[in-house]
Subunit: 240 residues, 2 copies
Amino acid sequence: MAEALRYGAEVSDLFVTVPARSRHADLVTAAESAGVPVHVVSGEVMAELAQTVTPQGLLAVCGFVDVPLGAVTQPAPALVALLANVRDPGNAGTVLRTADAAGAQAVVFADASVDPYNGKCVRASAGSLFHLPVVAGARLGDAVAAMRAAGLRVVAADGRTGRSLDDPDVQARLDEPTAWLFGNEAWGLPPDLGALADEPVAVPIYGQAESLNLAAAAAVCLYASARAQRVHRVTGQAGT
Amino acid sequence: MAEALRYGAEVSDLFVTVPARSRHADLVTAAESAGVPVHVVSGEVMAELAQTVTPQGLLAVCGFVDVPLGAVTQPAPALVALLANVRDPGNAGTVLRTADAAGAQAVVFADASVDPYNGKCVRASAGSLFHLPVVAGARLGDAVAAMRAAGLRVVAADGRTGRSLDDPDVQARLDEPTAWLFGNEAWGLPPDLGALADEPVAVPIYGQAESLNLAAAAAVCLYASARAQRVHRVTGQAGT
């Protein structure tokens, strides 16, 4: 709610319980100042509205914030997360939050990925839904083509490939503009979707685990690119 | 179940539904060969036993696998995850899985952390509970002291510190034996627990997110150490 107001999402209504109104007086005042109608409701109504077991007592109705694919490629981004059929809202929201933290310029929910407005996804994103451009309902093929046209390399995170994030030639190119492609949490990227990428890269498994979970793999991949891009940029600036 | 048998956990009983018995015939045969009593149960009984909405149809009763603190410091480990008051079983299990993938030699569930045998934690660990030594119910102070005595640096993952994982002096020491200390998913590490560590380090936030979720931060930290230790080791071997 605070994020929605701060980042300019269109808030049309605010529902609040009596305890939450005292607890978040600053937010309620901010909403009122912004001309947002504030409705005081019972805990039961809030539980029903929020569709969660332990609602925060504060619920904002916001306009959609997603943008079309074309809006995230001009100017060309340096780091993007593409979600292909990521079904679990908690996973998708966590990847959105991590992409935001890593400084990605967009997250694309492609093909049969969960709706970014799913309540669990919004909560797992911890406000990040409002921080960076989100594309909803794109076809993966279109998203990949758009990224490539904007000069990004498309790298598929694929635990089954022999090509590791540690390989010197993979490391050497991490500073390039990159769209990371993440597949479904259970079955990964089927060959036809993986083939859309320029190359597959695996987060190396040093121990006995069969794989990483999606959000952990995404954190390692996105931060590897973010750090390389940042070090490169800093070095570049130092050299001028 | 497969992991429990493969990694030598003491399996005392196997419960299985009729469909799962056909689907996992190899596992059931393996259990029978190992002298484990196999009990066929209805879907209703399985749902009650497994305490989950969509059980896999196969449930093994295993002996506890956790070990005392002293068992994980001899020989001295290079990479350990210490969980301080990590309450969410999904988070704790995911960190356990990530620590395993990153090649950590132990995970310590300290202070008021969730029970590693919590069903959600076991499921989120995806078998990793059986892959590396797990210490349950340790006092954090004792765990930190044991790690330090074994020659490890104790680094607290703390998003609020100004010291970043990218800082050159932090990077320079990532290859040293390290115990990463992770705090509660909601309130992090209170000052008294943070003070137990040799230093705090933050995963840098490049975007607008206020923080990373625990499992994502742990993935970035553990893989940063794992990679540095590995590169160092490889370089060392190449130099001999």
